[in-house]
């Protein structure tokens, strides 16, 4: 039996008191607990940012790497040891800014990992510069005249590329977020969960402001309809939908062929290559390339 306290550690959080990141942390712990995952079976992977500090605040394996590079590191970890439940925890600056190219190409690869993006709409750790999701016109520490370039819509991009699970959560609704995370982690292939994470220090609005603007997708909404999902993801205006925006039938995950044809073991457990295997190549092996 796995208890939520199995994930408890004594590392003091560097987040501001009351930061909604705590809500995401708790939802993630709860999700892992209810999925009966044990700490040593999970590996959290992050870059740099407030969001990316999360792995320090629960008991588990983690790789807190370079700013923007969580996804490639996670791919390497996942391929080398597929038995691990690999979860990327990242901010929208980390994942859509510095790391934008890796997110894009992760959609191509469809690795069986989950990517959780804390979206607070700017760079919080570096004191409030605009991020790839800041709205046009919003004033930021480095954009005193208001942001002049359009935000990215990465969820729409994910849907365009048939990402198997695309959801939006709200840090202020832990139970709903927990269920999203459980489904995301459970779903084979790449799962993307963007979480609206109000920043109470640099943000223009209190958590309540966001609470008034998020709504849950109803049962009438069909997440398997890609066209509808795309429209939903591209919706502009006051209200923001939360829930599963899109989910589709699993397709071949990253490294599938290799795992089927070559080996299913963790790479660390493979035996060494015997010199005999090479001998053949050395005798007159000059196959032109």
């Amino acid at each position: 039996m796995v208890k939520i306290d199995d994930y408890k550690n004594d590392v003091p959080a560097q987040w501001c008191p009351g930061c909604p990141n705590f809500g995401i942390l708790n939802a993630l712990k709860a999700a892992l607990t209810d999925l009966k995952k044990r700490p040593h079976e999970c590996c959290l992977v992050s870059g740099i940012g407030q969001a990316a500090k999360l792995p320090h605040y629960l008991k588990c394996n983690f790789f807190n790497g370079l700013h923007g590079r969580a996804i490639p590191a996670a791919l390497g970890i996942h391929v080398a040891n597929p038995l691990l439940t690999t979860i990327v925890v990242t901010g929208e600056g980390d994942c859509y800014g510095e790391g934008g190219n890796h997110f894009l190409h992760a959609l191509r690869r469809n690795p069986d990992i989950t990517v959780v993006i804390h979206n607070n709409g700017f760079y919080a750790l570096t004191k409030g510069q605009a991020s790839p999701t800041t709205r046009i016109g919003e004033k930021r520490s480095l954009q005193m005249h208001g942001v002049e370039i359009a935000p990215l819509n990465m969820l729409a991009i994910a849907i365009v590329h048939d990402c198997t699970f695309v959801a939006r959560g709200f840090a202020g609704d832990g139970d709903h977020l927990k269920s999203l995370l459980m489904q995301a982690i459970g779903q084979p292939g790449l799962s993307v969960v963007e979480v609206i994470q109000p920043c109470i220090t640099w943000g223009a609005h209190p958590v309540s402001w966001y609470r008034e603007r998020v709504y849950l997708l109803g049962d009438d909404y069909d997440p398997t309809d890609r066209k509808a999902a795309l429209e939903k993801a591209m919706e502009t205006g006051e209200k923001v939908a939360t829930g599963i925006l899109f989910s589709t039938l699993p397709r071949k995950p990253f490294a599938d062929r290799f795992r089927k044809e070559i080996t299913t073991r963790a790479f660390a457990e493979l035996k060494s290559v015997s010199p005999e295997k090479l001998a053949g190549f050395l005798s007159l092996h000059t196959k032109p390339r």
């Binding site: 394996n61 807190n64 370079l66 970890i77 190409h105 070559i262 090479l278 050395l282 196959k287």
Partner: protein, 556 residues
């Protein structure tokens, strides 16, 4: 028979490389050693490229830039490379453009007599076989093996084509082809730098290779991808070099021996990750196939221009290993060392090679594969109860486990961290301790570094000092100097960083020889050993150093 040099020249897409490799295999089949090196332009069709084969009874892997026989696949090639032909040397080409040549209209004959220009090259090979005095049967065997996949008709046609060329050349050879290739029962191992590197990595236990295509390193990942089944190695083409190296670091963190391969430009993009590997003490092997820079430079040429960059790559201060193999055989040793030392000290290891070494074909008496078995240094989780991934120890080396290996939780943090891998701001104790820890490993590593190779140093008055792939050229130069009665020696480095504990002999005159413009090794040695150089030979035109080149530039 001694040191016969054959050069095949032609445009990209004309099959220069194929002709060269068929010939090399045939020659080895006669019991001789072959060394072949290539120089080619950065284009897919056209231009003029060459493939130089040096034939000898014992392996002599030094590049030469001369031709006893030049086979030109087109007229432009004949023009461009004719200067390489030695007195008494000959040209084999389509049109008569000089005395001492064998003109054969390969294409027309192929078209007329075999109904397809495609066989022109095989006719040319046959002609060369005759000029060198080969046993045609051995050539047939090599061709048959090569074209087996294409089916019997193709094999048969090639047989006919080879014979054609052979007979036509025999006539033309009258009086100008003194060469013979009597069979010997020696059988040398033939391997390219690229193949050696890929195989060595597999042998060293490499399981994960992510890379972004970049000459001259691309063929390494291609070779391993081709043989993923034999070697159980996973290969992935990344979207960029930053992804490639971070994937490799992730895989290594998860317990897989991992590597990435690239050239200078791609390596530059990896510099931040080199620093990461240093900080999170995760083994990583990066193969840097050098080509002339800066920037895109000369993508298909060779250089030793990235030594100082590799040694100093990455912000901040951390332990790092830099090796530079001398030849194909040395690649096996140094790749094994790179993986084993990276694993033992939990550091990034950079293997500096170059286009010349990777694209060349070497003959070896025998490569002792048994000697290059991997040594693994992962800790045993059952021996640990309270696990601190970054525990401070005397050697600076902490117990390394991988996530999922046991109940012990494994962490990595690019921030400065405590022994459990959590962010720290404790400047009073934890921070200096961790900085010290990571640098202690460098001091430990230094004791594992082998001194440079010394050749004829005792007797020598003047000593050439070089590194990496120019070793064969340097040895060639030394020999030539000896024959001229000059008391020359060689000190050759293949373990570049940290530099070994070593004393340069007193009272000698040192000369720096490198394939770059600024003498990068020299600068490194000056600061480490305080020696000074009397002069230098620096080649920076994108071509490899050769014995004659070195000798020509030296003022004595």
């Amino acid at each position: 028979m001694e040191g016969l040099n054959v050069v095949i020249a032609g445009a990209a897409g004309e099959g220069v490389q194929t002709v060269g490799e068929v010939l090399s295999r045939t020659i080895v089949g006669h019991g001789y050693a072959v060394f072949a090196w290539q120089e080619f332009e950065s284009r897919i069709r056209g231009g003029q490229n060459s493939y130089s084969i040096r034939i000898s009874e014992k392996p002599d892997n030094a590049p030469a830039m001369k031709a006893d026989i030049l086979l030109a696949l087109n007229d432009g090639a004949a023009m461009k490379y004719e200067p390489l032909i030695q007195t008494d040397g000959i040209l084999i080409a389509e049109k008569k453009i000089r005395e001492r040549m064998i003109p054969i209209a390969f294409s027309d004959i192929a078209q007329k007599e075999l109904g397809n220009k495609r066989y022109a090259n095989t006719i040319a090979i046959g002609a060369l076989a005759a000029a060198i005095g080969m046993n045609l049967e051995i050539l047939h065997a090599v061709l048959a093996q090569k074209f087996a996949a294409k089916g019997d008709p193709v094999v048969a046609a090639n047989r006919v084509a080879a014979e054609k060329g052979y007979l036509l050349a025999q006539e033309g050879c009258q009086g100008i082809c003194p060469w013979r290739l009597p069979e010997r029962d020696a059988r040398y191992q033939l391997v390219s730098g690229t193949e050696a590197l890929a195989m060595a990595a597999a042998l060293a236990g490499c399981r994960f290779l992510a890379a972004y295509p970049m000459s001259p390193a691309t063929d390494i990942i291609t070779f391993l991808a081709e043989h993923e089944t034999e070697f159980e190695v996973f290969t992935e083409q990344a979207e960029d070099e930053i992804s490639a190296v971070n994937m490799a670091i992730g895989a290594s963190f998860a317990g897989a021996r991992s590597m990435t391969v690239t050239s200078g430009g791609g390596f530059a993009l990896m510099a931040e990750a080199v620093s990461l590997a240093g900080m999170i003490e995760t083994p990583l092997v990066i193969v840097l196939g050098q080509r002339p820079g800066p920037a895109t430079g000369l993508p298909t040429r060779t250089a030793q221009g990235d030594l100082l960059f590799a040694v100093h790559a990455g912000h901040g201060e951390f332990s790092k290993l830099v090796l530079a193999p001398a030849d194909a055989k040395d690649i096996f040793r140094q790749i094994a060392r790179a993986f084993n030392l990276a694993d033992r000290y939990q550091i990034p290891a950079i293997v500096l090679t170059d286009q010349f070494l990777l694209d060349s074909l070497f003959s070896e008496e025998s490569i002792p594969l048994g000697q290059y078995a991997p040594e693994f240094h992962l800790a045993d989780p059952s021996m640990i109860d309270d696990y601190h991934r970054y525990r401070v120890t005397e050697t600076g080396i902490s117990p390394r486990l991988y996530p999922g290996q046991s109940l012990h939780l494994v962490t990595a943090d690019s921030d400065e961290h405590d022994s459990r891998g959590h962010i720290t701001e404790d400047l009073a104790e934890t921070v200096p301790a961790m900085v010290e820890k990571r640098l202690t490993k460098q001091r430990e590593l230094k004791t594992a570094i082998r001194p440079p190779e010394e050749v004829d140093v005792e007797e020598a008055e003047r000593i050439l000092v070089g590194w990496g792939s120019s070793r064969p050229a340097l040895l060639d130069a030394i020999e030539r100097l000896h024959t001229r009665g000059i008391r020359a020696g060689l000190i050759h480095f293949t373990e570049m960083w940290p530099l070994p504990v070593y004393r340069f002999p007193e009272g000698k005159e040192y000369w720096n020889v490198e394939t770059n413009a600024t003498g990068q090794l020299a600068r490194l040695l000056r600061s480490e050993y305080g020696i000074t150089f009397a002069g230098q030979v620096h080649r920076n035109d994108g071509l490899p150093l050769t014995g004659p080149y070195i000798q020509k530039v030296l003022p004595w």
